[in-house]
């Protein structure tokens, strides 16, 4: 564990989480949520949980981002609230 790397990851994680909640464009929100998943994947890898990191990269960043993008295309792209 390198504390500088950990701190950078955690700060980026919080920034990505807040952006994906606040952003009005739902497609961009899905993509930022994918970035959040990749950062989570790096955090798992830092904590030596490689199997979990693998799953997070495949499911969280890959497939579930695509699920959200597919759903956004079926509704409107702009968030109303």
């Amino acid at each position: 564990m390198i504390w500088q790397f950990d701190t950078l990851l955690l700060v980026l994680l919080i920034v990505a989480a807040v952006i994906s909640l606040r952003i009005k464009d739902l497609l961009a929100a899905s993509v930022v949520f994918g970035i959040y998943s990749f950062l989570m994947c790096l955090l798992w890898a830092v904590m030596a949980a490689v199997d979990v990191a693998f799953t997070e990269a495949a499911v969280g960043a890959g497939v579930s981002t695509l699920f959200m993008i597919a759903t956004v295309y079926q509704t409107t792209r702009r968030s109303s609230d």
Binding site: I69, A70, R77
Partner: protein, 255 residues
């Protein structure tokens, strides 16, 4: 109301962080996860019991195989539930759905750079998925990750071309059958152990039917068999969920 929500969120977050103080430090040797009798047994016996160096795989698919079997069943149930909610068989008479302004335009599937790149990538992705599935005994990965990557390769095809191209290769009947079939492979392996006179999912019994040199190798092969079941269910469920979401359950003209 917003202020009230903020107070609740801050209070809950503060309590959760306060609760973390009692947790053992990261990597502490005396934490329950690291110091327990069970952990020591798993780490020391994974090679003798099942000839699998990756203890994560042994724990998931052998020592706690009931857990993984019902996890597979949960994924299958989730896929079937989304299918049951979204699938529309009769298109007539319903309310005309508003066409999204962001819907893909006609001819979109002929985008040459995206199309060619994904066509070149899909075969290596599927090969890598099979490697992840087969090599789960020795490296991170296994049935779940391999299955997700196989599903993702079909999703890539659907995104880069269109849903119909993907459905031609992975039709509805097939992904439904594979979703159920994977759970059946897993439970069937367990049942086979029972028929051979041992407990449910006690792979050592497979020694009698597999070309294994002993009960340890039989357990290793048993783990591989259930990993295949997990991969089949997961890949089919992932594709089923995407196909339902992308086409509003009509399985045509999707994203």
């Amino acid at each position: 109301m917003r202020a009230f929500g903020l107070i609740i969120v801050l209070l809950t977050g503060g309590l959760l962080l306060w609760g973390v103080r009692d947790f053992p430090l990261f990597g502490a040797a005396d934490s329950p996860a690291n110091g327990g009798v069970v952990t020591a047994y798993y780490l020391q016996h994974t090679m003798q019991d099942a000839r699998v160096p990756n203890a994560v795989t042994t724990v998931l698919a052998d020592y706690r195989s009931y857990d993984t079997m019902f996890e597979t069943a949960v994924i299958f149930t989730a896929g079937i539930a989304i299918f049951a909610i979204l699938r529309v068989f009769d298109d007539r008479g319903g309310r005309r759905l508003r066409k999204s302004q962001d819907a893909p335009v006609k001819g979109d599937q002929y985008r040459i750079i995206v199309g060619t790149t994904s066509r070149l990538l899909i075969a290596p992705i599927q090969l890598f998925a099979l490697y992840v599935l087969v090599h789960g005994h020795h490296s991170p990965g296994g049935g779940f990750q391999g299955g997700v990557i196989i599903g993702a390769s079909f999703l890539l095809l659907a995104v880069a071309r269109n849903l119909q191209t993907s459905l031609d290769r992975f039709p509805e009947r097939r992904f439904l059958a594979m979703g159920a079939g994977g759970v059946l492979i897993y439970a069937g392996t367990g049942l086979l152990c029972m028929l051979l006179g041992r407990n449910f999912l006690d792979y050592g019994a497979l020694q009698a039917v597999l070309p294994a040199t002993g009960p340890e190798m039989a357990r290793s092969h048993g783990i591989f068999a259930v990993e295949i079941g997990v991969a089949v269910t997961v890949s089919a469920s992932m594709f089923a969920v995407y196909a339902m979401l992308a086409s509003r359950g009509r399985l045509k003209d999707g994203l």
